[in-house]
Amino acid sequence: MSTSILTSLRDTGLADMSVNPERNLNAKPILMTTPDKSAASTKPFIDISGLSVEYRTLNNERVQAIKRVDLTVPEGEFCVIVGPSGCGKSTLLKVLAGLVAVSGGVTTIAGESVSAPRKDIGFVFQNATLLPWLSILDNVMLPLKVQQRPDRSNWKKRALDLLEIVGLHDFSHRYPSELSGGMQQRVGMARALAHDPSLLLMDEPFGALDALTRETMNSELQQIWMMQPKTVLFVTHSISEAVFLADRVVVMSARPGRIEAIIPIDLPRPRDIETIDSTRFADYSREVRRYLHKKEAKA
């Protein structure tokens, strides 16, 4: 079942990514354009239960990064995890990416238990993590090359189309050092989409950017996601970023990392500057902030 979804996503490919205003008007474009997708959504796409992660410090002390976390994410949801530093939110992403060994619990993606990296995940790092020796075009094509995807002749076109979407088509032959931080992170997003992953993991991708660039990136990310709906897990410590982007905000607390609250954000999309100024946006922000500080007061 799940593989057929993946192939159908892959088949539609970039034809889906052209801007379709009608689709953008849907409050929830993720629900659902193809019938087999809605069938899949009866089961959660990501299912985390009882997840614990421990690591050892240099002094060989055990530190509990994540303690018994349960979380399910339906297919196509934009899920934002917010929490103070050290709450294990980045670790959670790395667990899903198969980069971190767990000490307890079960994690499944599309029904398959996660124990190693998967081919259908796109990871966006806090620092764009572009390879400076590759041109922008080659950086975006990297997932296709690493995974030796078929259809080699289409790689370049696909990468250029993605660069078009993030507005960097003219920079395809430049090198990362010639780009600003915001541009580099756009390339990072294009790269994460190159192999058409079904899950996008974003680890504070805009944390290093200035506030203005960050807002721009947020609405661009929303647009991209509405064009090509994917399940997204987005980690941040910015409350407004979380409320702006999320279908649901997951609030985590630190030491040990656990889930404090899950807040559904019922704001129409596409969200814009007006949305940020609205009272409902402020209400949601207040609620998220309250949960974040509740734990701090306890500690």
Binding site: F123, L142, V146
Partner: protein
């Protein structure tokens, strides 16, 4: 800006001319023996004569081959040996202590042994040069392959890339600036090693020729070879530096250093 660039070339050249002129004058005025300290003009004559009768070219070709083959062989061995040591804990445990130990050894001192084993021909010079050229590359390969940003490795792993993908897309390019730094040290040491090995015992080569001229007390000839060797050394270094800037163009330290010049 432009005048500054000209000054940078003209000033040191002027100094050189002044030095040569005072050298020439000193030797003439105090009538120093040619055997002790020849005049620059005599060295120039020796240089001319040596190239005209083909002696220098013949020996230069021999030394050149020893340096070239020794250096290339050293670089290849350095990379082939360094990669497994950098990437495998087992290899590291087995070999790394010896590499550190051998690095401290004066490798040119192996020359007499090589003469005994493989004779006085060019083969022994190539082997000595190779041994000397290996270490700077080897050490830099090990350091370079490990000095990798962890996020870049995580990137490849997150794509389900294997060890080979990691090596090809991230580790090798990350190590390239280090490898080039090692190669620049190696190329200069290669020339040194080849000459020193030829001193010990040889049938041809600039080092061999130098000892022959020394026995004949042909001091202008010795000076002439010294100048040739310096020119070769500078040229080889400049080629390596040029190659580095071409290949590892993204490396900020390389680029900046060049800009500041």
């Amino acid at each position: 800006m432009k005048t500054m660039a000209i000054v940078r070339v003209v000033a040191p050249l002027t100094l050189l001319l002044v030095l040569i002129a005072s050298w020439e004058a000193y030797v003439r005025v105090f009538e120093v023996s040619q055997m002790i300290m020849p005049r620059p003009s005599q060295i120039w004559d020796a240089l001319n004569a040596g190239f005209r009768n083909g002696v220098f070219m013949k020996h230069l070709a021999v030394t050149g081959q020893a340096v070239l083959f020794g250096f290339v062989g050293g670089v290849i061995i350095g990379i082939l040996l360094g990669a497994p040591i950098a990437l495998s804990r087992t290899f590291e445990l087995l070999f790394y202590p010896y590499i550190l130990g051998l690095q401290a050894m004066p490798k040119v001192a192996l020359a007499p042994l090589m003469m005994i084993w493989v004779g006085f021909g060019i083969e022994s010079k190539i082997i000595i040069t190779m041994i000397v050229a290996v270490f700077p590359v080897l050490v830099n390969v090990i350091v370079g392959l490990r000095a990798v940003e962890t996020d870049r490795i995580a990137l490849i792993r997150s794509l389900k890339g294997g060890v080979f993908a990691e090596f090809w897309w991230v580790r090798l390019p990350s190590a390239a600036p280090y490898i080039f730094a090692g190669m620049k040290t190696s190329i200069v040491l290669s020339l040194l090693a080849a000459i020193a090995a030829e001193f010990v015992g040889a049938e041809a080569g600039l080092g061999y020729l130098m000892t022959q001229l020394m026995f004949k007390l042909d001091t202008p000839g010795v000076f002439a070879i010294l100048i040739i060797l310096s020119c070769i050394g500078i040229t080889l270094y400049m080629i390596a530096d040029w190659a580095q800037r071409k290949v590892v163009f993204w490396d900020a330290t390389t680029a900046d250093r060049w800009k500041s010049k």
